[in-house]
Point group: C2
Chain length 199, copies 2
Amino acid sequence: MLDSIPSFTRLVAELAKFPGVGRKTAARLAYFVLRQPEADADALAEAIREVKKNIRFCSVCFHLTEDDPCPLCTDPGRDERVICVVEQPQDLLAIERTHSFRGRYHVLHGALSPLDGIGPEQIRVAELLARLKSGQVEELLVATNFSVEGDATALYLAGLVKPLGVRITRLAHGIPTGSDLEFVDDATVFRAVEGRREL
Amino acid sequence: MLDSIPSFTRLVAELAKFPGVGRKTAARLAYFVLRQPEADADALAEAIREVKKNIRFCSVCFHLTEDDPCPLCTDPGRDERVICVVEQPQDLLAIERTHSFRGRYHVLHGALSPLDGIGPEQIRVAELLARLKSGQVEELLVATNFSVEGDATALYLAGLVKPLGVRITRLAHGIPTGSDLEFVDDATVFRAVEGRREL
């Protein structure tokens, strides 16, 4: 029956390519597009095209940007001596939202994961090393995720960076704000005890 | 920070209009679009535009179609004497997938819900009545959902249709295939006992 409405079938197939969107969800989204006013559907189609056309990666830090180098890399108010390295642009945005960091960034676009065939050549490690070797950088703050891949990447970077005489730090690991100790997972409690600080 | 990449912000805002898609999911989908090859993003944008351009509602049954009247309404192999009335096009497709029904359809595009301001004028009831009054129809199979709104719509239709001398039936209510009685909700068990059939 769906064969009689090929443009609908095609839209469902395209939407089902999204991560975490199966065939049923895709159909629900497609019905929503159908019910939207034409102007709204056009705006969505246009936004998809624009994003591909306008957004590139910053040639310095590899964050998303419309201007190259990106505003974060050209902002004179940011400290050139500290680089925060993250896995994905989303991670950078999460840190920026907190206004807790005023240095530069470097986006790896991934983390080491040998089982998935992702080695140092598949992520932006060489470009990071080149920046560190320029000599201005005094500290590298590793903000990769606290997953097996993020941990592996942090360790790998530490091995590369220490010989350059650059200080290497990592985000604190511990109990999140607002948590009940009782319900926090064991690995987190273990790391929180291990990383305890003087009051 | 997101302000420096307006086309990205715009795409996130457009995607967040989808039902069940919040700001974080929209950002995840937008990153996916960014990472797709340009051809894939174009295909998605094109599919959205095409669906709005090509798909209309059948003027007879109000199902989605590219040709009016739709293939279901013009298929000579389908029985004109039975109309199955559903709330949404998705419901029609769910029935078609089972090949259990070979009559015509009528899509209401909603169900009665006075609290949401949806009365008979907001859904395709008048058009259904006009079809029934044409005289060919002998049975109306009500396949609205088994929700408060679907039940109300079924009752309302029964009141309208009985005076026309048209037989009105509803999908059987009962235990779904593969269920353990123990885990089926009470309302379903109640209706299954009430609707028991001779073996």
